[in-house]
Symmetry: C2
Subunit: 240 residues, 2 copies
């Protein structure tokens, strides 16, 4: 008996928006993708999900899709699935998930990092050390421990699905479509890192990464370093 | 003036060998790639390096290549570069780098994890807690702090090249071809994590990942979550 493939959580940051381009903090502001962002995610979908040799996600292995409530994530999710056979797609549960909405920036919504640093200096804050979102959070928005709390709840939900799939010996790929900060936090919490310091991770708009487990064991969560894409061989040998 | 691209360290784990397939610890044993491993890395090279829209590494931006002294890494490096214009390739310095040879497994060379655990139990070791390479290292081989020492020396060398490139405003992509354990350690040390605990990273044979910096700043090293491959858009807009 061959082992079922190890369960995976494939995370996608939404495609380009006007504010991802300009570097403005975007949480609740409900921007849509730019025309470039639309093309970007449509093509990523074709390369990522499908039944050919090239795509890493087989639609029939997709057991759930979780999407942030914001328009840019919803639109990204639609574009990713555009080429999937409608009958197969209809069987995949797609859920709007509040716990993966972007970090709440409160008063900093729409600002850039240097503007936030300046604003806080004017208010007499940060006399000891410069602002980072990790250490000091957002006025009127969230602190790192609030973000960790909702992500841990989400991770528990994912790992429950993955445990059940492993017990049944079936594949379970789950896609999460969300935002730059919250997804980097998700990766850090997946391996139980504290969010009070910068997790030192980069994820561009449209970027795709993978979380999984070592040794087919849900108690050994790990980060996939090679990301989402692999190059297939032209002619598959018996020894793959 | 547009900024030069942020310097990157692209790391590649060598392609499949008989022992990567069977899960045997391979450090000094000088195995070559399997026929599948050869096809795998040839195709990865085509997809990874080139002057088209698809490939993420432009050969003219490659400033250095560092390769482990072992045959499987050397062969992988040759296959990756096979399609690069010989004139361009001749200008790229390729160095054999002892500091990125695989973790020295000593007495555990050729064994699998469960065999190492069993061997150590027979010797009366690990009465308190189960063996991991991170916490307890290898008898007759290396401990985590010895591995960290040589990787830190290597990272310093890389970051010196990257600093100079940023100062001159030129691109600098560096490729490192090495092994499963040492590359996961390299990623962990890039962001200054202690190696005495499992860094919770996965890297399959043939896998490609990327290290870079936040804010174009060599003092802010970070891990690229989307790995090496991105899907290009069909028609590039002015707003990329």
């Amino acid at each position: 008996m061959t082992k079922s493939p190890c369960p995976r959580l494939i995370f996608v940051r939404h495609g380009q928006t006007e504010w991802s381009k300009s570097g403005q903090y975007t949480s609740r502001t409900d921007l849509d993708l730019t025309p470039f962002g639309v093309k970007q995610m449509r093509n990523t979908g074709k390369g990522l999900i499908g039944s050919g040799n090239l795509q890493m996600i087989k639609p029939e292995n997709l057991t759930h899709i979780f999407v942030s409530p914001r328009k840019r994530a919803q639109h990204t999710s639609e574009l990713l699935l555009e080429e999937v056979d409608p009958e197969v797609r209809a069987k995949i549960p797609i859920e709007i998930e509040e716990d993966i909405r972007e970090w709440e920036y409160g008063e900093y919504e729409g600002l850039k990092t240097n503007e936030i640093i300046e604003l806080r200096k004017q208010k007499g804050l940060d006399k000891d050390s410069e602002w980072t979102i990790w250490g000091k959070g957002c006025e009127g928005g969230e602190q790192h421990f609030e973000v960790a709390e909702r992500l841990d709840r989400f991770i528990e939900k994912i790992q429950k699905i993955h445990r059940e799939a492993l017990a049944k010996g079936v594949a379970s790929d789950i896609i999460v479509v969300a935002h730059g900060h919250i997804l980097r936090c998700l990766v850090a919490r997946w391996v139980k890192r504290d969010l009070s310091t910068n997790p030192q991770l980069i994820l561009d708009a449209g970027g795709v990464g993978v979380l999984s487990y070592q040794h087919h064991n849900v108690d050994e969560p790990a980060i996939y370093l090679a990301g989402a894409f692999t190059v297939p061989i032209e002619e598959e040998g018996a020894d793959i």
